[in-house]
Symmetry: C2
Subunit: 255 residues, 2 copies
Amino acid sequence: MPADPDRTAGALYRTVAADLRESITTGRFGEAGRLPAEGALAEQYGVSRGTVRQALALLRADGLVTSRRGTRRVVLGTARVQSFSELLSFTHWARSMGEEPGGRLESMVRRPADPAECELLRLEPGTEVYVMLRLRTLSGTPVMVERTVYPPRVGEIVAELPADAVSHTEPLREHGILFTDADHTIDVVAANTEDARLLGCRRGSPLLREKRRTTDPTGTPVEWSQDRYLPGTVAFSIHNSLASSALSRHARDGD
Amino acid sequence: MPADPDRTAGALYRTVAADLRESITTGRFGEAGRLPAEGALAEQYGVSRGTVRQALALLRADGLVTSRRGTRRVVLGTARVQSFSELLSFTHWARSMGEEPGGRLESMVRRPADPAECELLRLEPGTEVYVMLRLRTLSGTPVMVERTVYPPRVGEIVAELPADAVSHTEPLREHGILFTDADHTIDVVAANTEDARLLGCRRGSPLLREKRRTTDPTGTPVEWSQDRYLPGTVAFSIHNSLASSALSRHARDGD
DNA sequence: CCGGCCAAGTTGGCCAGCCAACTTTCGGCG
DNA sequence: CGCCGAAAGTTGGCTGGCCAACTTGGCCGG
């Protein structure tokens, strides 16, 4: 699967968006320059203005351009937003940076879900889930501990994978398990004994935690994961704007 | 300014979106139920299908509903996405949680910008900037240290505010300084001596850091800020999907 | 009873057009 | 020279329509 989803689909507006994105990042419109008018772009690409507007909406959501009534769009930044899969898949992300991803399976157990897990994965109480613990490495050095809970349908497939499989999301996709929507929560926790042992840090030392709940196109949860990163190895980056915002700030209230 | 931007604008699609959002969060369509068809909604609200689609695009971006070709939309979650201003303004955010925000100005100095600041705020080398250091509190207890660099146009206004002003963004808005787009980067840092003194923690103890660069509608940077939160006081939450994604994961490479 | 095919329902995508709101520019006038 | 107003340019918003792609459920035949 190509890295850029804009290029994959046959949708016209994604093609236009991809082309504009490249023009922007290569500086064709200048550092803080202005884009051609919607009408001009429509004529240039041979599409309707509505299609151009769809393409520009993608760029605006990524924080590449501003847009307000009355003036041409202005280049905001020469973007770095990766594709959705680079965010979900550690493997994909690592490779896009030119690093060699690795994973060591520590444990994989099957047990009844606790009430909280049932709620998150939307399962009947007592359903069996698959709980995985993996140490993830970049070019051999440990950077992250991954604790993932899978519902049966997904866990059955993951359990069959070889223990040294680097990527789990890719085989899952081939089995028809699709990841399309994810909710992330990011905060700080202290390393517990297990974290410390696996990551080679001291117990109590700070880790960047990403909690993630992923669903498939039907809205069915397919994954509930807690990833704990060593400081200095990763940072999360988000763009938001008045036009549309998916980021929020929460008070923490336990796990 | 009302909390919900959907309600403020006269735009039809925002009104529809706000109404649908409420219907979803009050569970009118069920926990994981299905929405009425676009056509049905169009008739119900007396608008065209295109307008309904615009409204639904907002909900999809917020992670409230899925959408795929062939089936009705499905409720994903009963959302918690706040308005854009609740993310940018500590004051607004605190009040929406029922907490009493406070701020103590530690220092406000004017000095030439260093090269990195010039780059970020897009200023000529050597331009004078205003550097602010503030301790932010929730109901009296310190939770965050805020270090903000303002370009002259903005800094001049902030410098005139009383030292005990709780909110800075609100007065700025009244002076015509608008915050519309922001890039956030989230990671972990160790508290330095100053952080430790202000927050009452130990030097070297972990803090959740949010770096933020905010621009106005013209794309001109108006703020560059580093906020450092005590662990356990805040968490950041993001939704992303295959359809559109503004979140990304980065390798850290210094500040 | 099971499986496959077909039709209805639904969303994705694209087009053409219209008007309103807003910004910028430019020229005229004081 | 500077201010103000008009006009041109541009994006936001909304309508109505059309077809394609896809999902679902039911019908029919084996």
